[in-house]
Subunit: 215 residues, 2 copies
DNA sequence: TAGATTGTTAATCGATTAACAATC
DNA sequence: TAGATTGTTAATCGATTAACAATC
């Protein structure tokens, strides 16, 4: 797997391939051609073949792709063959909702801890996971081999906490705060800006009828 | 405002401009050049000028952009000068978290109703908003001038509900279910696929060191 | 074998960046 | 006015699509 220089666009499409292949697997489809898959996914067959060939030749001429094999391989590319420990920082509504969300665990993302800046929440627990104080965070990350920190706190706090995380072994931040964190490159930041998403929905609602690229 | 054929890439950047301009406004910055803004946002000044000029000339040679004016204008482009009524369908953890999230209201997105497929939740209420049964949905949409439906239900249910929404005046769906809804083009779908987002974070964590486009 | 479909190269398309004349 | 900075055209870059030889 000697891939190199994969574009963001391709990376964003991988989970979608993974999802469709998982569905096919559930429906006991054994093999699929790029052409069939392209129709289901509403993309071009060419794009599928190009995307996959960034990572190696998973198909067979005249046959197509073996669904189970391709699903497994994309899973490996996405790092789903290993578990990833994470903590949630911010035990508000969204943090709690994510903590209760069990599907992540099925994919190998294991919640190990829950933290909050509000010390009064200490002692409470969600799904059996106690809410801890922030001053325990650094040691907790070290002791529990935490790879990912999920930030579900207001933006001002998020910037503070992110700066603090720089000194730890954290590899990635899943950032739900409405701000762009400026961090050293070795810490990967994946943003989920819900209000940005809602605003772009609003834009598209308001500007419908005009010719859109996907029309 | 005679814009036409705006690319998805540009649309996705608009909320980010709006956010940065809002921050500048809070800090009482009166004017900003594309060059200054580009440094803060980590994009090229050229891109900012190109993006904005899709919608008209908001700047002034030798001066730059008036922060307050540009903020307002982008707000209008995003449809934030009007309110938008929405319902949340699915009163589980995520649905409840979104219902409790007050920032949407500040932007003019008003939660009018909360629905769940589980009839046993009827009678409960979140933030004073009663959870309603699905069979009330269609009339509720009509009576309350609902523009947006937020889907926070499992994928199988989401497909069903989305099909049902086709017969209503709903303009857009904010879809948190892990599936791509196939709907007529006049209904705008904005997806928030959290597990896709987490997987692409996982990919990037695992493939760090390789040259990334943004490096 | 013949038919199907990949992997991959080449062509096209679109988005980003650079450059600069216009102008405040 | 001189300096600064936009709006916009042109150049570049990258991503998508098309085409087809390789091959199962």
């Amino acid at each position: 797997m000697e891939e190199r220089n994969i574009s963001q666009a391709v990376i964003r499409r991988l989970p979608r391939y993974y999802r469709y292949l998982g569905d096919l697997l559930e429906n006991e489809v054994e093999r699929i051609s790029s052409n069939d898959l392209s129709k289901r996914m509403n993309v071009t067959a060419s794009q599928i073949r190009q995307d996959l060939n960034n990572f190696g030749g998973f198909g067979q001429q005249g046959y197509g792709y073996n669904v189970k094999y391709l699903h497994t391989e994309i899973g490996k590319i996405l790092g789903l063959d290993n578990t990833h420990n994470f903590v949630i920082i911010g035990a508000g509504n969204l943090g709690q909702a994510l903590a209760k969300y069990v599907s992540f665990e099925k994919r190998g993302f294991i919640i190990k801890g829950l933290f909050d800046v509000n010390p009064r929440l200490e002692g409470m627990s969600i799904r059996g996971i106690p809410i801890r104080k922030m001053d325990e965070l650094k040691n907790f990350i070290k002791d529990n081999n935490i790879e990912i920190a999920v930030l579900t706190i207001p933006k001002e706090k998020a910037v503070e906490v992110a700066d603090m995380l720089v000194d730890t072994k954290i590899k990635g931040i899943w950032n739900f705060a409405h701000t762009d964190l400026k961090l050293p490159k070795h810490i990967i930041v994946e943003n989920v800006h819900l209000s940005d998403s809602l605003m772009s929905l609003s834009y598209r609602i308001g500007h419908q009828g005009r010719k859109m690229p996907q029309d």
